[in-house]
């Protein structure tokens, strides 16, 4: 059955699909009128036709579909004779769809407008609702705590700007990296790959933090991961895996720089530890001196007290520092009465017809440098040294302080002369002023300052003696534009920094290094964590749980370390410390080869992705305090 008949022009009403309304009667399942609603949505079927005025006679115009001419006919005033109460037309589905669409659009726009117009701190309810319209997701734990104060503005400069400026920023580039660098620092250029300085090359492009680190991925998200393909996209030599294609390790790897502590593993292992006299103190294995269980990249030694003191502790106090030595004088310039006034009459002092100096020595290199006088010229240093002696005789250490300060020393005299008793200094100076040797009341037992005959000496009390460290720092920093003074500084430095004869034997073990050409020297007092290898990450600790393919447990104290670390008995280890350059150096361990790692890091064994060993950034650090001080 079809309703074909209903399509005839005189049997069906004209359908208006674009009309916005349908008959209200039809919508309520009554019989719809054939005229249907008007365009404005009002009922069009109140009258069944619009009578036609035919030369003064009104004629019915009801359509055939609606029953044709009606019985009543038009009224005398031209009104339809078949009227009915008006219905309330209903919107069509199309109109309802349009209305719903407009409502949906309005709701979204209104919600966004309302949210974005709220004001308040990020922590307040209004602020959090406003941010909901902009929020791209939770920050990672590393960043979540640092945006509380500024909110989104901490990273997004456009946030909170005036509407026009806010909109304008959509058409300009956003420099997110700049915001990152407010907190993050690197030892090289932040926008260069690996924070390194490369030779000009078209292939080297500027980097943005967001190229690798995209935020708003959730509290625990990892935003620092890179795939091997991503690493290979920049590197000219690309390879598929560590096993196949990765370049060989350099000849020095991983010993690019000499250690700060000059410990010759080869000579200790092969020579000293074999000596019957010290064998009882020799370590059982590597882990006796190196704390492997807490080791990460570097396996720091336990320190002097635990690793070295048994053999080397008593060597330190044997090497005294001679700060002053009474030199030989040709004549005395001292006023005898002034000496008596400062020191009192000395019964041992004899009045001489002809002056003969009690000393036939040279003065100390320290005094020569500080006074700025040649060490062997009586005429040059005589008056100055005697003035120093007289000054010490009058007020103890004051004249020494003046001399140190006068030399332009970089170290505080309070550090250099710490523990020096002014009375003892005075007594020694008085003896010297009387042209006598100063005799100690008793033989020195402990470390500290002593006046001994013709010398003012400092005996180090033990490892890390602060006074001795101060004097060595003083020697290292000594220098002058004058060639003659510089020569004396070099002489003092050579004596104090002598590995074999230097005071305290400090430089026997501690390296003296010049980091950059023509830069200052520095004594490496502490264990040096090699910064040159900061882009290589390696965890000794993580490897301790492993067993190598031959079945050796790496945590085995006796054999584990030697799986990777092999002593090089031929290496010129000592030669690496003869100059101040830390790079010209031969380790007494054989350099590691790629083959050593490949034994385990291979397909089907341990993973071998780039980031396992290589860190992208160079010495990442923070520019700001990472903890807040609420006080």
């Amino acid at each position: 059955m079809t309703d074909d008949n209903h399509f005839d022009f005189d049997r069906s009403a004209y359908e208006r699909p674009n009309s916005g309304h349908v008959c209200g009667r039809g919508a309520e399942w009554g019989t719809p009128c054939w005229r249907g609603p008007n365009h404005d949505g009002s009922c069009g079927g109140e009258a069944e036709c619009t009578p036609y005025d035919n030369q003064g006679r009104w004629e019915c115009r009801r359509a055939q579909a609606a029953g044709g001419l009606c019985e009543n006919g038009p009224g005398p005033d031209g009104s339809c004779g078949c009227s009915q109460p008006p219905c309330v037309p209903r919107p069509t589905l199309r109109r309802r769809r349009w209305r719903l669409s407009v409502i949906a659009l309005g709701l979204v726009v209104a919600a966004l407008a309302a949210f974005t117009h709220l004001s308040g701190d990020a922590g307040s309810f209004a602020g959090s609702v406003r941010n909901a319209a902009l929020d791209a997701g939770e920050l990672t734990d590393g960043h979540a705590g640092f945006t509380d104060a500024q909110g989104c503005k901490a990273c997004h400069s456009a946030h909170g700007a005036q509407p026009m400026a806010w909109l304008a920023s959509a058409f300009g580039a956003n420099d997110m990296t700049k915001a990152c660098l407010d907190c993050h620092t690197f030892s090289g250029p932040a926008r260069a790959p690996h924070n390194e300085v490369f030779a000009p090359n078209k292939r080297v492009r500027k980097t943005q933090c967001a190229m690798c680190h995209t935020e708003h991925k959730g509290y625990g998200a990892n935003i620092s991961g890179l795939s091997n393909e991503q690493c290979a996209s920049c590197h000219e030599k690309s390879f598929s895996s560590f096993v196949s294609g990765h370049p060989k390790f350099s000849d020095k790897f991983p010993h690019f720089r000499r250690a700060s502590i000059k410990f010759n593993h080869a000579s200790h292992q092969e020579k000293h530890f074999q000596d019957k006299n010290v064998a009882k103190n020799a370590p059982a294995n590597c882990t006796t001196c190196h704390r492997t269980e807490a080791a990460d990249h570097a396996v720091a030694p336990l320190g002097f007290e635990n690793a070295c003191a048994k053999c080397h502790a008593d060597q330190i106090p044997k090497r005294n520092l001679v700060v002053l030595r009474l030199p030989e004088f040709e004549e005395t310039n001292l006023d005898r009465e002034a000496v008596i006034e400062a020191c009192g009459a000395n019964p041992e002092a004899e009045e001489e017809d002809e002056y003969e100096s009690i000393s036939s020595d040279e003065m100390s290199v320290i005094a020569a440098y500080m006074m700025g006088k040649p060490i062997d010229d009586f005429e040059a240093y005589g008056e100055a040294f005697q003035e120093l002696v007289m000054g010490m005789a009058e007020d103890g250490t004051g004249a020494l302080v003046d001399m140190i300060e006068g030399s332009g020393a970089a170290v505080d005299p309070a550090v250099l002369l710490a523990g020096l008793n002014p009375e003892a200094a005075k007594r020694m100076a008085c003896a010297w002023a009387a042209n006598l040797e100063y005799e100690l009341p008793a033989e020195p037992t402990f470390g500290g300052w002593y006046g001994d005959l013709l010398e003012l000496i400092y005996r180090p009390s033990g490892h890390a003696d602060p006074v001795l460290k101060g004097w060595l720092e003083f020697a290292v920093a000594a220098g002058a534009a004058d060639e003659e003074v510089l020569e004396r500084a070099e002489e003092m430095r050579a004596q104090l920094l002598s590995p074999k004869k230097g005071p305290g034997a400090c430089i026997k073990c501690h390296a003296v290094t010049r980091d950059v050409a023509d830069g200052p020297l520095r004594i490496e007092w502490r264990y040096h964590k090699d910064k040159a290898r900061s882009s290589h990450s390696y965890s000794h600790r993580n490897h301790l749980t492993m067993v190598d393919p031959q079945g050796t447990k790496l945590a085995d104290s006796n054999q584990g370390c030697s799986v990777c670390h092999e002593l090089d008995l031929e290496a010129d280890f000592e030669g690496g410390y003869k100059d101040f350059n830390a790079q010209t150096y031969s380790s007494n361990f054989v350099s590691l080869k790629k083959e050593t790692c490949v034994r385990c890091h291979a397909r089907g064994r341990v993973r071998q992705n780039c980031q396992l060993c290589h860190a992208y950034h160079k010495e990442p650090a923070f520019a700001k305090r990472v903890t807040r001080n609420e006080n």
Binding site: L134, D135, Q230, S233
Partner: protein, 271 residues
Amino acid sequence: MNLARTRYLMVWLAAGMVFDLLLAENRSVRVHLGNPRELTGYWLLGVMIFLALFNLRKRLPMLPLGNAATWLTLHAVGGVLAAAIFLLHSGNLWPGGVYEKALAVLSYLTILSGIGGYFIQRIYPRLLTETGIEVIYERIPLRIGELRQKAEALVLECCDQTRFDTLGRHYLDSLQWFFSRPRFTFNHIVGSRRSQQWLKQQDTVVRRYLNDDERKYLDDLSQLAQQKDRIDLHYTLQGAMKRWLLVHVPLTVALMVLSFWHLLVVNVYSL
């Protein structure tokens, strides 16, 4: 293979190729440390605008923009492509931000309503053809009105001619409810035959109390009821084919507005 299937196959192949190219480009951009979300985001926006143009196309039938069937095919396949690009763009099913969650919800609802609508458009026309009648949706109230008038006239005639009111009372008790408006809407939606059972039951219940003359009227009345039932089916299915757009189109509008907001926020804050 008919034209429609060939057309679908071609469009599916084209969509597959587009997505494949986009996947490759997305991977390439990611590997080269670019911003793949920028790429997929603009692609997604482009596809969404193209999908929205389908509605515009329906409003401009006078323009030679291709036939509606082709557009429907492109719209359906494009919708699936958009869903795939959306997942590629967002990277997960549930994003982190509040407004992004709203965007995801709108996307899912739009996709689901679109899938529902697609199946409605594919399944219901076949069911409508099986009824053997064609009815213009807008004329259904008129047709139901006509059938109701015929039924009432038939019942009155029966009472008048046979002098018994059994059929009349039966009509008032049950069939009047049936003829008053479309019935069994839910059953028609889910393809149930409950309306037929109900009509058969009404026929059986009263037939035993009627004499032969009345039974002729009952037969005619049952025929009218069957016609009405088929028109009800038309009303329900054609209504569903139109009404799903009451959900899909407003959701699409909201989704487009929020997508443009997302585009603006992303450009202001990060790109």
